[in-house]
């Protein structure tokens, strides 16, 4: 491992100071801060090579930092790029469909935060578990949901990922426990998933995500306590995008170093705009929990470009300059793109082709989703799945007894 002095000698631009955060943040949010020698990048797509992460990728609390190097392949880097572009394209489609009034209710987009969902997925397997809050479209996609099923859900279609029952905030897939609407409530639930893993002697980890706003909920601390007490294999992860709705982190939290808020749980703050740093952190965290060391509290330092939800313009509690600065200098997709070109992992043309492929895949799926039928407005479909099939009570009451539904 490099010493701090050695590492800070590198020639990469220090963008940290360009951004004046409201809360103290020492980890960089530079999305293009990793380093690789292009001479060392192999010809072959699946041959591993080493990437060096910025020394400002992590901040630790009672924990040895993860290695500042990451083995990756050209193929993986391109996949990471594809994944992030797909998430963004999908969120953009949701944005448009919402504005066309085809999506109802609350709709929370993750534009700007793609490196978190995509980076985590690249560090875990489908046997690991993820649970998050309502800002869940990207996670649903990474966990294996199709764009069609996700957008279909937003449109309230029968073939949506939750059959049109859940909408934007409630999406589930294998190894993905939602999609939860009550701020903070998913955190002890996540601890329970980890508990089950431990109970079943499985060597998987649980990724349990919550926002900077959510981190003030009492049950987060209750979950921390149980997780440490019982040594649960869980990576608590605060997606710190600086705001909970219109409230800046430091107006809601007495201490905004979220990675330290486990107190007796070691913590790791991560550059959440750099997908490579996210992958390195989660990979390390997974090893840590699987080795039986108990929980970790991660903090992904990130930023949401849009408003809290579609009904929030997102400009009353922060400056347009702040948003613009993050978008133009810290964008996770642009950052990785720059690296891929710098390291000659891919050519400009190939990158354009990947871009195009991701976009046309998303666009095609969105188009298909728009053609999917809505659920038939019948009692059978309305009352379906309140209980496990075959275990229902004899009937459910309708708005009037005339509308009672008998299973």
């Amino acid at each position: 491992m490099f010493t701090r002095a050695l590492r800070s000698g590198r020639a990469l631009p220090l963008r940290r100071n360009a951004f004046v955060p409201l809360a103290k943040r020492t980890v960089t949010t530079d999305a293009a801060s990793s380093h690789a020698e292009k001479e060392h990048v192999p010809e072959k797509d699946d041959k591993p090579f080493e990437v060096r992460l910025s020394d400002e990728s992590f901040e630790t609390y009672e924990l040895d930092p993860p290695p500042y190097t990451l083995d990756t392949t050209k193929k993986e880097l391109k996949q990471m790029y594809y994944d992030m572009v797909s998430i963004r394209r999908m969120e953009m489609a949701a944005d448009r469909l919402y504005k066309e009034k085809k999506i109802r209710g609350f709709c929370h987009l993750s534009t700007g935060q793609e490196a978190v969902a995509a980076g985590i997925e690249h560090a875990i397997t489908k046997e690991d578990h993820v649970i998050t809050a309502y800002r869940c479209h990207g996670f649903a996609l990474m966990r294996g949901g199709t764009v069609k099923s996700i957008i279909g859900e937003l449109l309230g279609r029968r073939e949506g990922i939750a059959y049109g029952k859940g909408g934007s905030m409630h999406m589930f897939a294998k190894g993905f426990y939602g999609g939860n609407g009550i701020v903070g409530a998913q955190v002890p639930v996540g601890a329970g998933i980890a508990f089950a893993n431990q109970y079943n002697d499985k060597d998987n980890t649980t990724i349990c995500l919550y926002g900077d706003g959510a981190s003030n909920q009492g049950q987060v601390f209750e979950a921390f306590n149980m997780a440490k007490l019982w040594n649960l294999p869980i990576l608590f992860g605060c997606e710190n995008n600086k705001y909970g709705m219109g409230t800046a982190a430091n107006r809601a939290a007495a201490m905004t170093e979220y990675y330290k808020r486990g107190q007796y749980i070691p913590g790791l703050k991560v550059n959440g705009m750099d997908i490579l740093a996210v992958k390195a952190a989660v990979q390390y965290g997974k090893q840590y929990t699987v080795a039986g060391h108990g929980p970790l509290v991660l903090e992904y330092v990130t930023y949401r470009y849009g408003g809290h939800s579609m009904s929030d313009p997102g400009t009353t509690y922060r400056t347009r300059e702040e948003i613009q600065r993050m978008r133009s200098t810290n964008d996770p997709i642009a950052g990785l793109k720059q690296k891929l070109l710098d390291w000659e992992v891919t050519s400009e043309d190939e990158l354009k082709a990947i871009d195009k492929e991701a976009r046309s895949y998303v666009d095609k799926e969105v188009e298909e989703a728009e053609k999917m039928p809505v659920p038939e407005a019948t009692p059978k479909i309305l009352y379906e799945d309140i209980y496990v099939r075959g275990s229902e009570p004899p009937f459910m009451r309708g708005r009037t007894p005339d509308e009672n539904y008998y299973y």
């Binding site: 905030m169 409530a185 107006r251 309305l382």
Partner: protein, 378 residues
């Protein structure tokens, strides 16, 4: 009844030993600041009537009470700098400052408990929940810490607090954000519970809630915030309060009594017009305004006249407001009924997201009219 507390020997005994129970405590407020009956139908001149949105009526109520009593403060998520998630508290921070209008972290159980504590210590908090769905995180504090304390203390410890926020379903927000809690709070002794429909209701009930010496739950409705209603001159005054436990006859009628609350009042009124047009019957629409106490007298009086009762609400059917109204009607008005009383409720299903399914989950105007006609066999 408040005065009699003072005269209780035990209370007097205690107060000499425990000087911190001062007569300035909320439960011991002079009667003048207790809700007094104001007739909402007392329109002065038609020209004095103003169209006001429910949201603005609530805002006005908060502003007036903040102005009137410096023990009143508003605390909740996004209430101050963001001007309220639904803009109910708009401008209050600017006007009253951050001592009185306070942004809370997202920690319902915590901030609800804190406001309850402040109430126990003599302040008159208005604890806003962004929606009542999130008050489920804090319901223990509302019930165990707020509602029961006065009784548990033998009347020594009052808790003058107002819990408010939007209740019930909103459009397209699915199961976790779409529940009606009227019956939950309505079942708790020690709480008072109101559910405004119109702007006058909203202002008069909220002001009464803040002034009432007990914990009061004000169940607003997000879908109504933007709706404008005429507001009488009397209601525009800063001394306007509505009494708890008094229903309002929104539309008189002789054939059918429709007892309803909150947003369903508007639906029932539309349905009543439709029933008149389609079937020539006159439905009387009773806006409960108050869930606890509940105006049984108004219901019985109406049923005496009409012989038919239909309750309309949007909560889950089991053990709900409708169920309670039907039970009360059985208990107090059975002999006046010409047919069994009926209820329209929300369907027994977690709220689905898809619009077509959501529509099937809540009362509609058409359903109210048709079911009313069926009850009357017309």
């Amino acid at each position: 009844m408040v005065a009699s507390r003072l005269l209780r020997p035990a209370s007097r005994l205690l107060s000499t030993h425990r000087p911190f129970i001062s007569p300035s405590k909320s439960a011991l407020q002079p009667a003048a600041s207790l809700p007094t009956l104001v007739n909402a139908r007392r329109y002065a001149t038609p020209s004095g009537v103003k169209e006001v949105a429910v949201r603005d009526a609530l805002n006005e109520a908060l502003a007036e009470e903040l102005e009137a009593n410096d023990k009143v403060f508003v605390l909740g998520e996004e209430v101050a700098q963001y001007n309220g998630a639904y803009k109910v508290t708009k401008g209050l921070l600017d006007r009253f400052g951050d001592k009185r209008v306070i942004d809370s972290p997202i920690t319902e159980s915590g901030f609800c408990g804190l406001t309850v504590g402040a109430a126990l210590a003599g302040l008159h908090p208005v604890c806003e929940f962004m929606t009542f769905n999130f008050a489920m995180q804090a319901i223990d504090q509302i019930i165990n810490s707020a509602a029961k304390t006065h009784y548990m203390s033998g009347g020594i410890q009052p808790c003058n607090i107002t819990f408010r926020g939007p209740n019930g379903f909103a459009a397209g927000v699915a199961a976790q954000h779409s529940q009606d809690y009227s019956s939950w709070y309505g079942s708790i002794p020690g709480l008072k519970v109101v559910a405004p429909y119109s702007s006058e209701d909203a202002k008069g009930l909220l002001k009464a809630a803040i002034r009432d010496p007990n914990p009061v739950v004000v169940l607003e409705n997000e879908l109504m915030y933007g709706t404008h209603f005429p507001m009488s001159e009397a209601a525009q005054r800063d001394d306007f309060v509505l009494p708890f436990g008094k229903a309002k006859i929104e539309r008189p009628g002789k054939d059918l009594t429709i007892v309803t609350l909150s947003r369903c009042v508007g639906q029932a009124l539309t349905a009543a017009e439709q029933m008149k047009k389609d079937y020539g019957v006159e439905a009387e629409v009773i806006n409960l305004r108050s869930v606890k106490p509940l105006d049984v007298e108004a219901i019985v009086k109406s049923v005496k006249k009409t012989g038919h009762l239909m309750a309309v609400e949007s909560g889950f059917p089991s053990f709900g407001v409708g169920a309670e109204i039907l039970a009360l009607t059985m208990e107090y008005a059975f002999d006046y009924l010409d047919a069994p009383a009926v209820r329209i409720t929300g369907a027994e299903v977690p709220t689905p997201y898809a619009q077509g399914l959501e529509n099937m989950s809540f009362p509609s105007e058409d359903l109210i009219a048709k079911y009313g006609a069926k009850l009357l066999r017309v």
